[in-house]
Subunit: 357 residues, 2 copies
């Protein structure tokens, strides 16, 4: 680990980049850096679903720490799931290996609102508190807390399992807007409760995962989704921690996602980072290497990594990341090399953009 990451977190490269401040090096972390791609994870993970593992603080702590040790990334992200709160209040959610979140009785009508009581983190997710506290005691880099955005969580509750079309979700949001808004309002409250709890216990930044918002047209997003995500960001604003807003395929939504109250906007690989910058003026950006690129030979990975750095051109307010989660089949050695490359070359790619590559 470098000296920089041993300074207090407010002066860490990650937090400074979130705030658009100058950094000693370009900070980097990876979505799903913990988990299936790591042999040390597969060794300790045991049986049961991810929700079982999350409920064991010692295990969740170790899983969170593994990629920090291995990669020397600039931030840790809590090993948890966007479905943890709705699972914890007993909505009947599970995570099926190889499938994703499945819901025994999907949300279908007003009566189902009664199944969504408020989250009480002390009572419902004490294991999250314990894991966060463990981590804060151990980590020398900032811990990112997170929550699922109301739309993405709602889409799982309504569809009952991962969907490609979001047919039921869209039918409800457009056909029963009053019910939809009540559902999303409750999910926003749950996200706020969970995030505030994570921050109170030591998380130094938060990320709101609206992973599937890119399935929506901009006007539908603006009318029926953005107000609820904005409520979440407003609800944690007083903590002062940087707020990251993430989704996939959100090229047309980036401006709105920034305006929802984010300090940092996640950008997948579909929008070149220099183009993305023009859509979120004044915001920091996080991304944007295609995770699938990391399956190619190293020279290709290095060139694509440098391309991201060149497009940022040394500007403040860039956190290097993948555009989506690490693929399970990835060789962890590649990610380690990406971290080293970003740390070594990140700030060199300003100005003479072509000459550097």
């Amino acid at each position: 680990m470098t000296d920089v990451r041993q300074t207090p977190h407010a002066d860490s490269a990650f937090i400074r980049a979130c705030r658009g401040q100058d950094v000693p090096h370009v900070p980097v972390w990876f979505m799903r850096q913990a988990g299936r791609s790591l042999p040390e994870y597969r060794e300790i993970r045991g049986t049961g679903t991810i929700l079982n593992a999350i409920a064991q603080p010692a295990l969740a702590t170790e899983i969170t720490l593994q990629p920090v040790r291995r990669y020397g990334v600039d931030a840790a992200i809590l090993y948890s799931d966007i479905m943890t709160p709705v699972h914890a209040i007993g909505f009947g959610v599970d995570i099926e290996p190889g499938v994703g979140p499945v819901v025994e009785r999907p949300f279908g009508s007003r009566a189902d609102l009664d199944r969504l009581r408020p989250l009480e983190p002390d009572v419902d997710t004490p294991y999250v508190i314990e894991t966060v506290r463990n981590l804060v005691a151990e980590l020398t880099v900032p811990l990112i807390g997170f929550a699922g955005a109301p739309f993405t969580v709602a889409s799982y509750l309504i569809e009952g399992r991962p969907s490609r079309t979001y047919g039921r979700t869209k039918a409800m949001m457009l056909g029963e807007p009053a019910l939809w808004h009540e559902l999303l309002d409750r999910l926003a409250d749950m996200a706020i409760a969970s995030l505030l709890d994570q921050v109170a216990n030591g998380a130094r930044a938060i990320q709101l995962f609206d992973s599937w918002a890119g399935a929506l047209s901009p006007d539908v997003y603006e009318d029926l989704v953005m107000p609820h995500s904005a409520k979440v960001f407003a609800g944690v604003a007083h903590t002062g921690v940087p707020r990251i807003h993430f989704g996939v395929g959100t090229g047309e939504l980036l401006t709105l996602m920034g305006d929802a109250g984010a300090d940092v906007v996640g950008v997948d690989w579909r929008v070149p980072l220099d183009v993305a910058r023009t859509r979120v003026p004044g915001k920091a950006v996080q991304g944007n290497l295609d995770p699938a690129v990391c399956l190619a030979p190293w020279e290709v990975v290095a060139e694509r990594t440098r391309d991201v750095l060149r497009r940022n051109a040394g500007r403040p307010g860039h956190i290097f990341n993948l555009g989506h989660g690490v693929l399970p089949e990835l060789d962890p050695g590649v990610l380690k090399a990406v971290v080293d490359l970003v740390h070594e070359e990140g700030l060199r790619h300003g100005g003479a953009e072509e000459a550097d590559g």
Copy 2:
């Protein structure tokens, strides 16, 4: 049926719109208008996979005609599949119900190129010829022929089944570009052979389905995919039929997809149609109602349909369509009502955009 659709095809609303000419009404058809959403389809479809049905000209003809009769759409699209050519030459492809294309031995190395011999439509897909001829004899609207674009077909051949990440595909295109280009060149030749055959037998327009190109970043698309799609468009240019280029989630690629040689660019619902217009100046556009919207109550469907029309604002060169295929659970009555609304109001939504809604 209206008089207009009984005029020769060159003067049909659909062909005129493809060419950016004035139209008597806004033409409309739906991707996957034939198929599972129609009770008359489920009645005659029988058992076996879609590839079995495609190989029976009488059945494929009837399935193609069903939505034309029911909806009064302005174009028919051949009932076939983008995997028909690679299946026909014996690559070992099947279409698994509820899954999609699956490949017994996926494409993984140079040796697999030998399994991709050129398509000889007379020998390999005589049933397609017969179906096209049947249709041309019966139809009073233009028939759209189609092919899978080299990238999208390659992604199925390499992944072996539908993928969310395209990890193997991207690893090959970036890691083994010489092999990738040879593969795509062969698939481009197969697409050209199939399309020329369909046009020679009476198809009046063609659509190239690069359904999953939206998974790529623009520079990867431009270097490794676009040249091969451009070859397909160039290969059919001498026929003079309008060429439509379609993909999902392609907001950042629209300009390139137009520049590849398309006369018409498909636009899904993620990009508002007025914004899409600015990305493909001089081209016609096709779209862009979210198919999932059609699961909402009629007033919502009507309002979203009018929104598409308003955004086009009466300009020539618009073919109304969904942004992707009809969902199987759709009520066909809704699509019939959309057709009627587009036909009746389509041209009224120019100029006074707000007053019309």
